[in-house]
């Protein structure tokens, strides 16, 4: 049961994600439309995309508060994900044992960042106006995941040893089960269900910005239309 679900969740995600990336990649870009000033070399474009992904460069120019909240959330998310490897990998490489503290602080920062983003959505009239229920639900879901995680970390500890055993086992044994002995175990169950929901819904949502950002023609095109002829595959020329 657990095994079937695990594979279903991961399968939907992988196929859905790959499908959308395929859509983006296979769709032609008929014209050169980089937002200039733009790099004039491919190396320059790689650097431009790197600054967007690693520093949220354009968002920083656009909105400092959104940047702060978002950068806290995303940066912390990366650390949290790295830390989570310890629940899936055995034996754990030495390195990861050292980042546990960073991971725990990151959990707090992540929830703080999400809180800031939620406040923005509620307070600023423009952002409130453009927000759909789905936009709030995403933030609430992520807050739910982060909040339940912190709860387990600081207040109601679940049976970690059994959970890890269950998580390791579920990929190859249909016998795998999760402990439901302590209060913390139920929080963990909620945590797990929310994560599963996030993963399943991911490819059908705005979270596809994870892949889409690399396919944005205004950011990923080299500014060299005079030097090198860009061909539109569907032009009748």
């Amino acid at each position: 049961m657990l095994t079937v679900l695990a594979y279903l969740v991961v399968g939907i995600f992988l196929i859905g994600f790959a499908h959308r990336i395929w859509l983006y990649a296979s769709c032609p870009a008929p014209l050169k439309i980089p937002t200039t000033p733009a790099p004039v070399t491919t190396t320059g474009v790689v650097w431009r995309l790197f600054t967007e992904v690693a520093f949220f460069n354009s968002l920083f120019k656009g909105d400092k508060w959104a940047w702060a909240g978002s950068y806290a959330f995303h940066g912390a998310l990366v650390l949290v994900l790295i830390r989570h490897l310890r629940y899936f990998v055995d034996p754990l490489p030495e390195f990861f044992a050292h980042v546990q503290i960073a991971g725990i602080v990151a959990g707090l920062v992540m929830v703080g960042g999400l809180g800031l983003l939620l406040l923005r959505r509620l307070i600023i009239d423009r952002v409130r106006y453009i927000s759909s229920p789905a936009d709030y639900l995403w933030l609430l879901l992520l807050l739910g995941i982060g909040g339940s995680g912190l709860l387990m970390q600081f207040c109601v500890r679940p049976d970690i040893v059994h959970i890890k055993a269950g998580m390791m086992e579920m990929w190859h044994s249909t016998e795998a089960s999760l402990p439901t002995m302590m209060a913390g175990d139920f929080i963990f169950l909620a945590h797990l269900i929310m994560v599963a929901a996030l993963i399943v819904l991911f490819p059908f949502s705005k979270l596809m910005h994870l892949g889409g950002i690399f396919f944005s023609p205004t950011r990923n095109q080299v500014d060299n239309p005079r030097e090198k002829r860009h061909v539109n595959p569907w032009a009748s020329n």
């Binding site: 050169k32 909105d63 600023i124 106006y129 453009i130 759909s132 910005h209 239309p225 032009a235 020329n237």
Partner: protein, 499 residues
């Protein structure tokens, strides 16, 4: 003149509190059969327009990566919301770039995504019905395709791409805009946007030659259809008839004269403008641009130089090579096409021109970067050359130069309010309000630095500002071209030819 509502000027550009529907009433005049049919569009709104519109959207999703990606990935962070001059000027919620795009995105969700099909309420999906179409007609004609929003978006989402797509979908169901379709028909019929026939063009050019001879004593030529010239000059047609555009045209002519380079204007390809971009049609863009490539071949020129026009420069610089290239029949030592500022700057660097700055001593000059030049093209071989080269020319032509607020220049420049196919009388309220951020920044330097001349390189900006600035109590003579300053300063006959 008095019945336009002019927003109140503040000391600084302020983000207004949001309002709903302040610009709902402002609709473009619908295109008529006479202008739709020749462009291959239905004569009137087709009966099954909903189905056809959705089909067209589906079709375009497969042709434009920008559309597919941008409709998918907006996270509604709102970073773009207060970046649009039309939002700042009108306060209308639908003039926030993200919300403008949502008008299409909600339709996209409804028909093309599982979430929109299953939970339209949760993700805000909308049917493509009369109400939605009405909003499309209104608000997709309140975007000047200036791309300022794309600068600040974490993913570079360019609302101009969405606007173009929306206009193309509307054209496909027979709901066009009179202004753009009428002008495109004129280009196909006569060769230029203003519909100037060859004899009239010839007359104007001769008149200008006489004018320059009278004021300078030099025989500066403005040749038409001369085969075998070195350069084909393609200017916006306003340069032949409107003030202050015509001053720049005389500037180009003097530069050619002084450099001793033979050039010609083409009566069939006189016009650089390409409204095919405004209506989002690849086919029209291509057809309009083809005249110029054909004329370059016919007149056997070696280079093409494009005059002071913003969107025309975008089409020429970014699209020509794709639309009608390759241009391998031209001289490979020069970029194809070349902007007239690049051309003049090159001559200046090579010592072919002498500019007397004192000729412009009555001016304190600032520069307005036009959107399409700033955010959709380049000059020279370095990123940002589109800012540096015109400024280098201005500095070479006058003593007093200052910049406006850096949040309103270079890549962050504000649109004049009249670009992208909205330079038409029925949209005056929009144009006046949209000019607010630029006018605010201009007023600041007028007060602080006594600026009395705003130089720029776009025919639409010039037309828009000469009409709008007086409403804000700024004299229309404040606006002029970069080559107007060059024209004033250039020393004719002092030394001739390239050194």
């Amino acid at each position: 003149m008095a019945d336009y509502s002019v927003p109140e000027l503040q000391e600084d550009i302020k983000t207004p509190a949001l309002a709903v529907g302040t610009m709902e009433h402002l609709k473009p005049y619908p295109a008529i059969e006479k202008h739709m049919v020749p462009l291959g569009f239905p004569d009137k709104r087709v009966d099954n327009w909903q189905q056809k519109g959705i089909e067209k959207l589906g079709d375009m999703l497969k042709k434009y990566r920008s559309l597919q990606v941008y409709l998918d990935i907006c996270v509604k962070c709102g970073a773009c919301a207060d970046k649009c001059h039309y939002y700042l000027g009108t306060k209308d919620a639908n003039n926030m770039p993200v919300q403008r795009a949502e008008l299409m995105r909600s339709v996209y969700r409804r028909y093309f995504t599982p979430a929109g099909k299953l939970f339209p309420g949760v993700v805000r999906a909308a049917d493509f019905d009369e109400e939605t179409l009405n909003k499309w007609i209104t608000y997709y004609h309140q975007c000047s395709q200036c791309r300022r929003c794309s600068v600040f978006c974490p993913y570079g989402i360019d609302t101009a791409e969405i606007t173009m797509a929306a206009r193309e979908i509307m054209d496909a169901i027979g709901v066009g805009h009179k202004y753009s379709t009428e002008i495109i028909c004129k280009v196909h019929d006569v060769g230029n946007n203003l519909g100037i026939p060859k004899p009239a063009l010839k007359g104007t050019l001769e008149f200008l030659e006489g004018d320059i001879l009278e004021t300078t004593g030099h025989e500066v030529r403005l040749p038409l259809d001369e085969e075998g010239a070195e350069v084909l000059l393609v200017a916006p047609s306003a340069d032949f008839f409107s003030e202050p555009h015509i001053q720049s045209l005389m500037g180009y002519a003097k530069v050619f004269h002084q450099a001793g380079i033979r050039y010609t204007i083409s009566s069939i390809g006189a016009e650089a403008a390409n409204f095919g971009m405004f209506i989002g049609s690849f086919a029209q863009k291509q057809k309009i641009a083809k005249r110029i490539a054909d004329q370059a071949r016919e007149l056997k020129v070696k280079r093409i130089v494009v005059g002071e026009c913003g969107h025309a420069w975008r089409v020429a610089y970014s699209f020509w090579n794709t639309l009608n290239g390759p241009f391998d029949f031209l001289d490979p030592r020069y970029p194809v096409p070349q902007h007239v500022c690049e051309f003049t700057y090159d001559l200046l660097k090579r010592g072919a021109l002498t500019l007397d700055k004192e000729a412009n001593d009555q001016y304190v000059v600032t520069m307005h970067d036009s959107c399409n030049v700033a955010r959709a093209s380049r000059m020279g071989d370095q990123p940002g050359g589109q800012f540096e080269i015109p400024r280098a020319l201005i500095r070479a032509a006058c003593h007093h130069y200052v910049e406006m607020d850096p949040d309103t220049t270079h890549e962050k420049t504000f649109c004049c309010g009249g670009g992208g196919g909205v330079l038409t009388d029925e949209l005056m309220d929009l144009r006046v309000a949209g000019a607010l951020p630029r006018v605010t920044a201009l007023k600041q330097v007028m007060k602080k630095d006594k600026v009395n001349f705003m130089a720029l390189i776009c025919a639409i900006c010039k037309a828009q500002f000469t009409k709008i600035l007086p409403l804000y109590h700024i004299p229309m003579e404040t606006v002029g071209g970069v080559h107007q300053l060059v024209s004033n300063a250039i020393q004719l006959g002092a030394k001739k030819g390239i050194v």
